[in-house]
């Protein structure tokens, strides 16, 4: 099975920091696999996805699962997209530029982009689409990120200008988000349930929680993309059903294969498992304003008390890598690879305990498998490994239902995960900045917060790298985030489907843009 697993070698981390050329050592391709055929038109892609619900709707403000991400990216375009090298590149925008202080951004739209009903994309469409997620009564998940926008205006039909409350060098990354597919303006907003988009596919059938059927647009403005004639995405919630359907040839691609039985897929000569590093990380946030976690030595003691290698091997079945208590993934720009890797060290944990004036420590870790797959097993492993450091962890199993409403952000020590964010700034701003809605560690670090504000408008690449490097060090040493592991992106697919040699690795499935990027082998 190793022969048909495509293994991603660790990307050259220095390459990321240098920010040059194509990053990553690329995929190690087994002989006769894909990536070698040129894209060609035709065929049907059938996808089986685990998420998707009958409560899904086309309103981009409510997109919250993979089913809708994949559909959204196929039918609508965003202003920018994340390229395989981890940078943002123009998509529906033809180009963009920042003012010197990075607080005013001018986006120029492509001349040739049009909606599936033939209308050209105008600045008004863009403004209405973005405004849909802003304002008092917005229920959109991207609302917090758009709060930095103080003004949007059009300059003619094809230019949109954004005024920000402060400089932000990463601003173009925001527009890769799946919430921000551009819709048609109705004058005073958008029709959130309209199916008309600028993407490479149009929707033939949309049955929430069951399936969506897409058909290629022959007049797609983006040349060299959208190869399949038809695409069918099915919700197949049961993992065994998903894997069976792939083995039986009823679908071509499935997400979230079961790690325990993944080897069975490899027995089928027509099936391969694809995996690469990803920014998904598992985390056990400690509230740094609550005793005993308000003492940095207690936090350090817990960080040294967990056996990360064991977690990666036994819970993630090797589909992951050890974490270093900071949330920037090795695949991301500005990853700091000079930081020493923290490892299981009960003696060192004891040392930190004694510095905190303790001989032993009793803590309660709230968890549920909703926090992340294997969270309960991880907690029990943690309990066992921490014993050697005189740390007694009481694993408090919570119900899956309502976990993120009742436990997360409320209990002082619990399990959680992040899908990752495309840039260091977005990640830190979402979960580590003082006062952030999702600051799950209730962490306040003055130096960190100063650096965050300094780095954001900085357009000089090297100075940013330095600042983000230091922030990773601060989070690792002072923060309340215990990040034992990063997960891999893993999916399984038929060998009849071909992918480009370089995938965008922000998320799995070519950062969910696979529908317009992949083709029939």
């Amino acid at each position: 099975m190793t022969t048909n697993r495509i293994l991603k070698t660790g990307p050259s981390r220095r390459g990321f920091i240098a920010g040059t050329a194509a990053v990553g050592a690329g995929l190690m391709l087994p002989a006769g696999a894909f990536g070698q055929t040129a894209p060609k038109k035709g065929g049907t892609l059938r996808v089986g996805l685990s998420k998707g619900s009958s409560s899904d709707s086309m309103d981009p403000a409510t997109f919250n699962n993979d089913f809708m991400f994949a559909t959204g990216y196929a039918v609508f375009n965003t202003l920018t997209e994340i390229a395989p090298d981890g940078t943002a590149k123009p998509n529906l925008a033809e180009s963009y530029e920042a003012s010197a202080d990075a607080a005013t951004w001018t986006f120029r739209l492509r001349e040739d982009a049009d909606f599936s009903d033939g209308k050209k994309v105008t600045a008004e469409d863009v403004i209405s689409s973005i405004r849909h997620h802003m304002g008092e009564d917005s229920k959109s998940g991207i609302k917090p990120l758009l709060a930095q926008i103080t003004g949007i205006r059009a300059d003619g039909d094809k230019v949109v200008i954004f005024e920000l409350e402060g400089g932000n060098a990463d601003f173009p990354f925001v527009f890769n988000d799946y919430h921000l597919g551009i819709r048609q303006s109705t004058g005073d907003g958008i029709d959130p349930h309209s199916l008309i988009g600028t993407g490479g596919f149009t929707i033939e059938t949309f049955e929430p929680g069951v399936r969506v059927e897409l058909k290629r647009r022959d007049d797609y403005w983006k040349k060299g993309y959208a190869h399949f004639d038809k695409v069918e995405i099915l919700k197949v919630g049961d993992v065994a059903a998903r894997m069976n359907a792939l083995m039986n040839g009823e679908v071509d691609v499935i997400d979230r294969p079961d790690y325990k039985t993944i080897d069975l897929l490899g027995r089928n000569p027509n099936v391969q498992v694809v995996t690469h590093d990803s920014p998904v990380h598992y985390i056990m946030p400690m509230h740094t304003d609550t005793a005993p976690y308000d003492d940095v030595n207690v936090r350090q003691a817990l960080k040294y008390g967990i056996d990360r290698e064991q977690m990666v091997q036994s819970v993630l079945y090797g589909y992951g890598s050890v974490g270093n208590d900071q949330p920037i993934a090795s695949t991301m720009l500005y990853y700091n690879d000079d930081l020493e890797q923290i490892a299981y060290d009960p003696e060192r944990a004891k040392h930190h305990l004694s510095k905190a004036g303790l001989s032993s420590l009793d803590v309660t870790l709230s968890t549920a498998d909703t926090a992340f797959n294997g969270a309960v097993d991880t907690s029990v492993l943690f309990k066992e490994s921490a014993k050697a450091a005189n740390i007694n962890i009481n694993v408090d199993r919570q119900p899956d239902d309502g976990y993120f409403s009742n436990v997360w952000l409320k209990k002082p020590f619990c399990g959680s995960y992040w899908g990752g964010r495309p840039t260091a700034d977005l990640m830190f701003t979402a979960a580590y900045a003082e006062g952030a809605d999702w600051n799950e560690t209730k962490w306040k670090n003055e130096r960190f917060n100063v650096l965050l504000l300094q780095a954001r408008p900085e357009l000089n690449h090297e100075r940013r790298a330095e600042m983000y490097g230091e922030m990773q060090k601060i989070v690792k040493e002072d923060g309340g985030a215990l990040i034992p592991a990063f997960g891999n992106a893993v999916w399984a697919m038929s060998k009849n489907i071909a992918m480009p040699e370089q995938l965008s690795e922000m998320w799995g499935f070519d950062s969910w843009r696979f529908i317009e990027r992949w083709w029939t082998a």
Partner: protein, 318 residues
């Protein structure tokens, strides 16, 4: 017949009352569950301000009893409202799923009922033979295994090993009735295996019970052929309990297939209900729940009525 009509009317009134109580319980149940639709839809990315905005849009900021009374008012006028989550009319949302569920249930029932009756009669007739023991053993084995296990075993052999049937019951992709029957054969077969045992054993027990009666002995002494005794003398008198157990199993075929729907990715009402409960979409939960309750109540009332008709003695209190 006057007494029969009164009995039926009484049961119908009682059924409607039960539906009302069930709807109240379901509403309370959803209220008790942690989180509401706004939180569930927005999930981990919810911030207090987006949740508040979403709640206001959905009317979830109203107190629970007001929302319940609003909903009840709508239902009494035949309006089941819109799904909170997708904004689609609940009636639209239900129609395809309802069709799919009924299709699968009918498919399974059409196979299961004659098979169960025949096997029940045969095992009663040849009781304590190898055939009887074998059938009973098989039936007990099938009914003791969890449905998902039966389903996986069927998939493993009929689908993966031999490749005869698809693993995904894609009724939505079916072309024509024949294709639909082919695509949904495995889930139907799973359901048949799950319900046949119960019905067959009840038939067998009821028939054996009747066969011990003096009038059967009389018929035997008069030289009536065995098949006439079973089909014309014993069966009609054993019908009441058989019909009851069949009604229960028919109801189960409609309301109890959630696991089977999940394993075969079948777009029926069960999956819709699970989705709706997960997202706390209460108009959908209420509509599906009421439908399920109605099926149960109707089938039970029907079973009662048929029993009453088939056995006049039941119409009079003892």
């Amino acid at each position: 017949m006057h007494r029969l009509q009164k009995l039926i009317l009484g049961r119908l009134i009682f059924g409607v009352l039960t539906l009302f109580i069930i709807s109240a319980f379901m509403f309370i149940g959803i209220e008790i569950l942690p989180g509401d639709l706004a939180q569930q839809i927005l999930g981990q990315s919810a911030t207090p301000s987006t949740v508040a905005a979403f709640r206001a849009e959905l009317g979830l900021d109203q107190p629970p009893h007001i929302r319940y009374i609003d909903w009840l008012g709508g239902v009494l006028q035949g309006d089941f409202g819109n799904s909170l989550a997708s904004g689609r009319a609940v009636a639209d949302l239900l129609s395809t799923r309802l069709y799919n569920t009924i299709f699968l249930a009918t498919y399974a029932a059409v196979i299961a009922i004659p098979v169960a009756l025949t096997l029940g009669l045969l095992t009663a007739l040849w009781r304590h033979t190898v055939f009887d023991r074998g059938m009973n053993l098989g039936a007990l084995a099938a009914v003791s295994m969890p449905e998902f296990f039966v389903a996986y075993v069927l998939i493993l052999f009929l689908s993966i090993r031999f490749g005869w049937f698809p693993t995904l019951a894609r009724i939505d992709a079916a072309e024509g009735l024949g294709d639909a029957l082919y695509r949904t054969f495995l889930p139907a077969l799973t359901l048949v295996l799950v319900v046949v045992a119960h019905m067959m054993r009840m038939t067998r027990a009821a028939i054996i019970n009747v066969l011990a009666s003096p009038y059967i002995e009389m018929a035997q002494l008069k030289g009536v052929p065995w098949w006439r005794i079973i089909v014309l003398h014993a069966l009609p008198n054993a019908l009441a309990p058989i019909i009851n157990v069949m009604a229960l199993n028919l109801a189960y075929l409609i309301v109890g297939v959630v696991v089977v729907e999940v394993v075969f990715s079948y777009p029926g009402l069960g999956q819709l209900l699970v989705d709706a409960v997960t997202s706390r979409d209460f108009p959908v939960v209420q509509a599906v729940g009421l439908f399920f309750a109605t099926v149960y109540i109707t089938l039970n009332v029907l079973a009662d009525i048929i029993s009453l008709i088939s056995n006049p003695r039941l119409r009079h209190g003892r």
